[in-house]
Symmetry: C2
Subunit: 144 residues, 2 copies
């Protein structure tokens, strides 16, 4: 049994974070002492471990809430239910990566076209590209 400060220290997080997780329904302490203090059981601590690990992998608190709801009703859930959450997240991550790679290509093309020297920025190709309506430097040429 731990008080909020003990649990927070153990997992190196803020006590406010724990109160926040409670408000969000992620981790409700299993009991409240007569003085109003939150009391966390070892099972609560274990759940916190799951939350923190899932967060480290990149799940949002909302994803984690779904995962935990499956966890508590494991017996009546299928592997499929769990895998769907993971695969959905994977699709989101893949989409985000592709979006960023598009930015990356644009930036690289911009950077490569610029001498980056002590010449006046008056004729800088980067500024010209941003001023030009066609953004020729950035457009990928899919035609030959």
């Amino acid at each position: 049994m731990y008080r909020i400060g003990e649990l927070a220290k153990q997992y190196d997080i803020n006590t406010d974070t724990l109160r926040y997780y409670e408000k969000e329904g992620l981790l409700v302490p299993s009991s409240i002492a007569s003085n109003g203090y939150r009391i966390y059981s070892s099972a609560d601590a274990k759940t916190l471990g799951v939350i923190l690990r899932a967060k480290a992998i990149g799940f949002s608190l909302s994803d984690i809430k779904t995962l935990l709801s499956i966890e508590v009703d494991k017996a009546n859930k299928e592997c499929l239910d769990v895998k769907l959450v993971v695969d959905d997240k994977l699709a989101q991550v893949n989409a985000k990566i592709e979006e960023l790679q598009t930015f990356q290509r644009s930036l690289k093309r911009l950077s490569d076209a610029c001498c980056g020297g002590h010449e006046s920025a008056q004729d800088c190709t980067i500024l010209q590209a941003l001023e030009s309506e066609s953004l020729t430097i950035l457009s990928e040429c899919h035609h030959d």
Copy 2:
């Protein structure tokens, strides 16, 4: 010369966005009519074009502000100044991509290890991985 609604329509954005850009110091209309209406010049419109293109590439409004401040003082700036902004952004994007690729690998390993079938989630490898303190499934084995 355009009124706020005309300029917004021309670039297919909200008038509130223009007022927001003004508040942020990105695009201040070159004059105000006697009735208090904002009046945008063609130069203002051109600047808005730059802002919107830079945004499409992935620059934040704060990045764009830096870029614009260089732009207005081009003559006294060097290519280097411009390139530094772009390269800095490129480094941020690269870092973000790598972070996401780590998530991607973790998620893929999690997903691949799960049958995803109608079996009970009781023995689901994904849930087991999240419950396990070692996260063995997720850890990359750099040793042989």
